[in-house]
């Protein structure tokens, strides 16, 4: 019963995420495209939930919907021709070829990779503490990459402040 429910949820979310992602690309109205991008983020958060990654799902919504997509919307509001969308340009053909090549290579890589498979049932446990331990544990964790990433972000913040500082 639960498996069937999870399967249905997975397929619905998968269709929603792929469908809205396609719509983001195909729609002419940039604002609606951005809204569909938000719904795509949502569907992906739902996929995380079906995988038992509750922390990641919440962070997905908080960061992608709450911050990134919103800033995207702000940018769109400041554009003048948002309703008409982006005009055709000569980059179109090149972009099409590049994306098809990327798709083919990704499918090929996915097929070639030898994925580790497990047959045991994974218990749905809270992941927050586990993630915290993984990130910050002195011995088994990724403290150094974590701190490097922090420094990188700090540098980016300072850079942004310097850029917009009033002369």
């Amino acid at each position: 019963m639960q498996d069937a429910g999870l399967s249905i949820a997975f397929w619905l979310l998968a269709i929603a995420s792929v469908g809205s992602a396609l719509a983001v690309v195909l729609l002419r109205n940039v604002f609606r495209a951005a809204l569909l991008l938000i719904s795509c983020f949502f569907a992906i958060a739902g996929l995380f939930v079906t995988l038992g990654a509750d922390f990641l799902a919440m962070v997905q919504i908080l960061v992608y919907v709450g911050a990134i997509a919103i800033l995207l919307l702000l940018g769109i509001m400041l554009t003048k021709e948002a309703m008409r969308g982006s005009p055709f340009s000569r980059w179109q053909v090149g972009a099409g070829i590049a994306s098809v090549l990327l798709l083919i290579s990704m499918i090929w890589v996915f097929n070639q990779t030898d994925w580790p498979k497990t047959n045991t049932e994974v218990a749905l446990e809270p992941t927050t503490a586990a993630i915290g331990l993984k990130l910050l544990d002195m011995d088994a964790g990724f403290v150094l990459p974590f701190e490097i990433a922090s420094i990188l972000l700090l540098a980016a913040v300072i850079g942004a402040i310097v850029l917009v500082k009033e002369k």
């Binding site: 509750d54 919440m58 919103i70 509001m77």
Partner: protein
Amino acid sequence: MDWLHWIIYVVIILAFVLTLVMSFILIERRVVGRFQLRLGPNRVGPQGILQPVADAVKILLKEDIIPSKVDRVVHLLAPIVTFAPAVLIFAVIPFQQAGNGLFFDLKSTASMVDLDVGVLFIFAISSISVVGLVMAGWASNNKYALLGAMRTIAQMVSYEIPMVLAVLGIVLIAGSLSLADIVDKQNIPFILLQPLGFFIYFLGATAEMNRSPFDLLEAESEIVAGVNIEYSGMKFAMFFLGEYAYALAVSTITSVLFLGGAKFPWGLLPQSFIWLLVKILLVFFVILWIRSTLPRVRVDQLMGFAWKFLLPLSLINLFLVAAEGMLPSGFTWPIVALNVTLAVALVVIWANRFYRVGGAKVA
């Protein structure tokens, strides 16, 4: 999976939210009226208690206007996207803890679902309502609505950061993201352990729910109600109810995180849902008190306040909590005294600094 549990809690939450939202509307009008030496609405029913019903009937009977040049789909979806998150938040609110209660005992915590990431859930969900407001502002095809939407984005994104950082202090003390756990750990209300965190959270939450003095999104005197300028009838009612539902949500979250939820302070009396209700009303009264006293800040001052005042203070607060976490347990009262002193001192010092660096641009 207990389907009965879900259905019962959906009904309970909807009833709780809708009745309290209705009574909040009345309470707000009566209390603000009393602040202003007026009576407020007192004609419909005894003491005006049926006024929200009359308002609802009026607003439902209004003509539903869709301006000709709006983006129809987005225009119609926006009120729903704004209203729904405010109700969703209540899914994780623990209405009463497990154990001995005042009138009845519960085997498990009375909440729809006790998520392990409850605090994150609240912030994640509440950030969605911004999308609804932005949709409304954009789709209305009105310059005031657009200005309102831009203000909304700037305001919500900025104030979320100090708010989350302030609540992180609570999470550090409680050692859990689950709201039920947080309430369980509150032998003394966390407002005493975290006065500075409460201060930052409360101001941030006031801004997040567009209450005075941070009600720039609506700013009737400037941008004429902002995003909901083109809305009428039921669609406007959704925005209106959403705003009050969000006020209710903020009052509830504040009560749960900082005031001990359903617990009576120091456990002097058995815990009960009633204490939570009393705390919610208390927090809402403070919101109304502030609303009926203060003028609105300007949009750049609002941003300056978030980034130059609240954010540094919340970082200092987080650092202090982490440092205090190193101490051995058993020093509760000294820590309370220390924290209250530090909070007052830090606010005064930082306010002074905020003025000097020109955050508020006082000539």
